[in-house]
Structures are given as structure tokens and as C-alpha cells.
């Protein structure tokens, strides 16, 4: 017990708490029993995070859930119950439905592309001996950039509508006229902007995960395949890809959840600063942001948060189902 006394920072909360709750008859000595000191240590170590999660997760979500059944315009107090009206209002809002379609399309496009690109890079980087660190850094560096900063580069330098933009400069080499990449709705050229941005930003992160997965594949499998005379493609299909199964499932899940919650780059690229909700392209989260901040309708906003959660849960369950079935077939 004396040894604890040499760390004052640890001592004070211990003694402070020990003095307050007065357990049983006042202890004759300050020394706690083994069970008490265990419980006290557990409480001190877990209390901050439990209080924080309790307030910012459990209370917040519970409150919001109740708000979603309540008329709550410019107020966050409960009481004006309206049943499922908020959900009905949201689902009959064409702009919200459009944003749901938009995000599902975006997810269907970006997830397979990111998956293929990051797996491809991981296989290539893992294959070489010299210069691995350099290439890993080059591909990972974009992960340091925020979506907002990347959106600035994409919108104002790479895909700006003026002739000096990089895409238009390259296009001019082939005799193409300057194109307003972001404003063009048909064909929707802004998809190229959105998809390349997210690919650039995320591929390195997932590549790191794939490399970790690749390095856990026992090398003797590859030696056996080489003895059997299997070529690179054949080796990839029969060894690498099946052995990466768990990694792939985890990565797909991360990608799906990230894509369905897209907000930052859509907002930075399409928001005009005028009224929220006038953007040509919106994600569900952007819609909810507008509902909450501009209309200050926390009832409808909460309903939207739960609908989006439902969508995410459904998509991830579906992914589990599909991958689960293909495992049964193996």
C-alpha cells in the first residue's frame, strides 16, 4: 500500500473515493479488502467511458428515438406525440427518396471499385522486395487528407469547369472542349469526380488491411502452387483470394458502412452556401443535416436518422447473407 503513495496522481482519486461512500461500519484501517479495492479500481477505470457513452449514446439515441414519434419543430422537448407521422412525411418527401436512391447507387459503384483497386495494389506491393515502403507511403498518403481538402483539389484544380483544370487540359490534348464536370447532369459526369475522389482517399487504407491479410497466408501454400506449375492468376484465384476470405468480408463491411454514410465530399462539392436543400446531388445525411439545422425539425430529423440506420443494417445483413450462402456452397 505504501508503494501507491509514491504516485500522487494515482493516490488522490483513490483516497477521495474511498473516503466518500462510507462502506459498512467505518473501517478501522484505511486498508480496503481485496474485493473492495478490486471493485473500486474497476469503477474508477470504467466510469469515465460509461458516463460518456451513457450520455452521448444511450441517452442521446433514446431521446432521439422518442423525438422521432413527436412533433418537435424548433424544440427538443417531448410530449406532442404524432405516431409515425414524421416517418411518413420523410418517406413521402421526394428529395429524401432521391437521396436514398443516390446513396445506394453510389455505394454500388464505389464499393466494388475500391475493393478491386485496394486488393490489386496490395498484391502488387506485397510482391516486390525493394521499394515496398516507398509505394506503401505513396498510396497511403492521401488517407491523411480530409474529404473537404480533397474536394477542394478535385473541384477547383482537377475537375474545375474552366479550361485550366487538369481534366480539361488533358482533354484539350485530344481536342475536347472544356467540360463542366461537376455541373453536367446528363450524362452525370459528376460521378467521375465523386468516385475518383473517394478512391484516391480510401484505397491506401484498405490496401494496408489487405497487405496484413496477405502476410498471414502461409508461404508454403505458394511454394506448393509453384511446384504444381500454377501461374500468377491461377495462384491468385485458388490460394490468395480464398485465404483472404475473412479479411475481405471485414473490409467489405467497412466499405459499405462508410459509403452509406457519405457526407463530407458531397457537401463540399455541391453545397452552394445558399439555402440547404437546393444542392443538385444530395446524400441522406445531407438531407438530414438540412432538416435539423435549417428547418430545425428534430422530429423528422430523428426519424431520418433511424431510417438511415435501418438501411445500413439491412445492407450489412444482406451482405452477410450473400457471403454466408457462398460459403455454404464451398
Amino acid at each position: 500500500m505504501t508503494a501507491t503513495g509514491t504516485t500522487p496522481a494515482r493516490k488522490s482519486p483513490l483516497h477521495h473515493d474511498a473516503a466518500r461512500p462510507a462502506p459498512a461500519p467505518a473501517p478501522r484501517r484505511r486498508r480496503l479488502t481485496e474485493r473492495q479495492s478490486k471493485a473500486l479500481a474497476f469503477a474508477v477505470l470504467t466510469a469515465p467511458i460509461l458516463l460518456g457513452l451513457g450520455l452521448f449514446r444511450y441517452v442521446a439515441i433514446g431521446w432521439s428515438f422518442l423525438l422521432s414519434f413527436s412533433e418537435a419543430r424548433r424544440t427538443i422537448s417531448l410530449g406532442n406525440w404524432v405516431g409515425l407521422d414524421n416517418y411518413r412525411e420523410l418517406l413521402s418527401d421526394e428529395r429524401f427518396r432521391d437521396s436514398l436512391t443516390m446513396i445506394v447507387l453510389f455505394t454500388a459503384l464505389i464499393v466494388p471499385l475500391t475493393f478491386a483497386a485496394s486488393l490489386g495494389l496490395a498484391v502488387l506491393v506485397n510482391r516486390i522486395r525493394r521499394g515496398r515502403a516507398f509505394f506503401r507511403t505513396a498510396f497511403l498518403l492521401p488517407a491523411a487528407v480530409s474529404y473537404v481538402a480533397a474536394a477542394m483539389i478535385w473541384k477547383m484544380a482537377l475537375f474545375s469547369g474552366v479550361p485550366s483544370g487538369l481534366a480539361n487540359t488533358l482533354g484539350a490534348l485530344f481536342g475536347a472542349d472544356p467540360t463542366p464536370w461537376i455541373q453536367t447532369q446528363s450524362p452525370p459526369l459528376y460521378w467521375i469526380v465523386l468516385v475518383t475522389l473517394r478512391l484516391w482517399l480510401q484505397v491506401g487504407l484498405y490496401m494496408i488491411l489487405f497487405i496484413a491479410g496477405l502476410q498471414s497466408i502461409p508461404p508454403h501454400l505458394y511454394e506448393a502452387a509453384a511446384l504444381d506449375g500454377a501461374g500468377p492468376w491461377r495462384t491468385f484465384r485458388s490460394i490468395t483470394f480464398p485465404m483472404l476470405r475473412n479479411t475481405s468480408v471485414a473490409i467489405l463491411l467497412l466499405m459499405l458502412i462508410a459509403a452509406l454514410q457519405a457526407f463530407d465530399e458531397f457537401y463540399a462539392i455541391f453545397s452552394t452556401g445558399a439555402s440547404l436543400g437546393s444542392e443538385p446531388v444530395r446524400t441522406p445525411l445531407m438531407h438530414l443535416y438540412g432538416v435539423a439545422l435549417q428547418d430545425q425539425d428534430y422530429g423528422v430529423g430523428s426519424a431520418g436518422a433511424f431510417l438511415l440506420t435501418l438501411l445500413i443494417v439491412l445492407v450489412t445483413l444482406l451482405q452477410g447473407r450473400i457471403l454466408g450462402f457462398s460459403r455454404d456452397k464451398d
Binding site: 474497476f42 469515465p48 467511458i49 491523411a144 478535385w154 473541384k155
Partner: protein, 283 residues
Amino acid sequence: MNNAVNRHRGSVLGSAATYLALCLMSVVFLIPFYMLLRNAFMTTPEVTATDWHWLPSSLSWSNFTSLFDNPERPFGRSILNSLLIAVISAPVSTLLASMAGYALARIAVPGRAVVLSLIVGTLMIPQAVTFLPTFVVVGSMGGVNTMWGLIAPGLFNAFAVVLFRSFYLSFPAEIEEAGRIDGLSYLGVYGRIILPNSVTMIASLGALSFIEAWNSFLWPLMIGQDPSSWTVQIALSSFLTSQTVNLPELFAGTAVAILPLVVMFLVAQRHIVQGIAMSGLKS
């Protein structure tokens, strides 16, 4: 023999092709950085010129000085705000997670499983969906436009608790027992033995948490409505919504906003890579 030679030649060709592909890809990946730096040092006529320039005609820092002089966009203040947020929330959130992770792994008390499932339960809810409920709570406590409102909700990382817990589960028990025999209390064991032995883990997850705090956008956009509580990401996005845009200044601002993290990635890459691999594969 001949076969082996062929295979060897094939693998040399194969690795040459691999290097070629990787070099091309890394050039493509570095182009946005190049464009950013080039434009940040150019003048407005140069940035908007229709003919291509590889480099700015002169290396002038005027874009950077005017960036910090604009009274309508408090860029310097926003950098300080972001720095303050990241410097507080990265170590605090990592420490809180480590404390809880240790208790959950090593201090057997009744009800421990309940506490664990309460913490893990919060992971089932997608992060971005909690922003509105959290806004309701923080707003009702008067947290809009305040530093604590920006920082507090990000301090409680249930996922990091899970990572620390599994790290401490595989921590050799003998060291702890030796500490107990030497008369350390449970908290003493944590503070004097466990914490110093978790430095790499704390560095990895702390680095990730720093990056997250620096780059986060949606939460500061909701809470930091007044320019005095803008973070650097909000200040950046205000370039895109203002009426007249000084393009070189915009690029200079973007360069300043990403510089700290790029430096961090180059310096602490080992920790960051470890952190990413750890948090990705555990999920």
C-alpha cells in the same frame, strides 16, 4: 534446367511489370498533391491561364500571408481550434479507452460482462447516424459554439476499448502479479506497469484519433456555427461557399490544412499502419 531458366526469366519480367505498374499508379496518386502545391504558389492569372505551366513562375509566399490576414475568414484561429481539439481529444480518448480496456480484461468483478456489453452495444449503431441525437443532447446542454461541445462527444471510443481489451487479455499476467506482490494496488498496477507497457498501442490508436479529430467535418459543421469556433475544415469549406474566391489562397489554405497530417504520416507511419491494421481487422 531450361524450365527453371524460363521461369526465372518470367519472374524477372513479371517483377519489372509489377514495378512499372506501381510506378505509374504512384504517379497518379501523387498528382493531386502536385497540383495543390503548384497552385498554392501561383498567382491568380497563372492559375486560371489556359496554357499549361509545370511550375509557378516565382516561389512567392504571398498567398499564405494573405490567407492569414483575411478578417472574414479567421483561418489562423481555425487552425488553433483544430489543433486544440486534436491535442486534447487524441490522448484523452485513448487513455480513457485504455483504462476501460484494462479493467474489462483484467479486473474480475461481478457485472463485468454487463459493462462490456453496454460498451460493445454502442458499436452496433453507425457513427454518422448518432450525430443528430448527439446534437440534441449537446445543444440542450448549451454546447453549440463551445470548445467542449466540439470535443466532448468524441472522447468516448468504444471501439478502442475493445482493441485495448484484447491487447490486455494477451498481456503476460506474471508482470502484474509481481507488481501486486510488491504492494501495488490495482490502480497502481495499471498506472505503473500497464500504462508504460502500452506505449506503442497508445501511439498507434492515438495517431488515428488525432487524424480523425483533425479531419472531422460534420460535427464541427453543426456545433461550430460561429466563425470563432470554426475548425480548419469548416474554414476550408467556407471558401467554396463564399461569393468571390481567391483561387491561389484557397489552394494555400488547403495545403496548410493537410500539412500537419502529411508530416505525421511521413514521420509516424509505422504506428499509423499498425493502428489501421489493428482497427480494420478486429472489426
